[in-house]
Symmetry: C2
Subunit: 93 residues, 2 copies
């Protein structure tokens, strides 16, 4: 279910460095090198398959850009924020 | 060593579907689903590490976009075309 504006604001406030734009939330992560970037992306990919919710992912050597939205709802849902929180855990792990 | 225009044209002619723009070559591949996209990307990533030449990679569910350039030469080199040819073999394998 598509989140309302105040729900988006609440969940966004719990995240660090994520930008809200055009029905998406996005963040660019800086890693050590390409190998670290890929390790991070593979963790995200496995979680994405587990929950069947797939972000757009861009790898530019040591930078990984993630864009989350829920296409079926044409907006942001809890799935996007749940996955964003998981992604933050991967980067801290 | 940066390739000359006629060398770029020669190597580009051997590839299918790659576009040459702004000192890069790029292609969008369409896969079956996210899992197939990730399998393809991991193959590319392992080869990129082996040859120490890293493309920009974007994964959007079943689409994988690859952009190749040689930053150190500020242009296209044989490395870019060698990797593009390998990538084509992965998609056919």
């Amino acid at each position: 279910m598509k989140l309302k504006k105040h729900e988006i604001d609440e969940r966004l406030a719990k995240l660090s460095g994520w930008q809200h734009a055009d029905d998406t939330i996005k963040k660019e992560f800086k890693l050590k090198d390409f190998s670290e970037s890929m390790g991070f992306v593979v963790k995200i990919a496995l979680e994405a398959e587990r929950v069947q919710h797939h972000p757009d992912i861009t790898i530019e050597y040591n930078r990984v850009k993630i864009v989350l939205t829920t296409h079926s709802e044409e907006g942001l849902t809890a799935k996007d924020f749940d996955l964003a929180e998981k992604i933050e855990k991967f980067i801290k792990a």
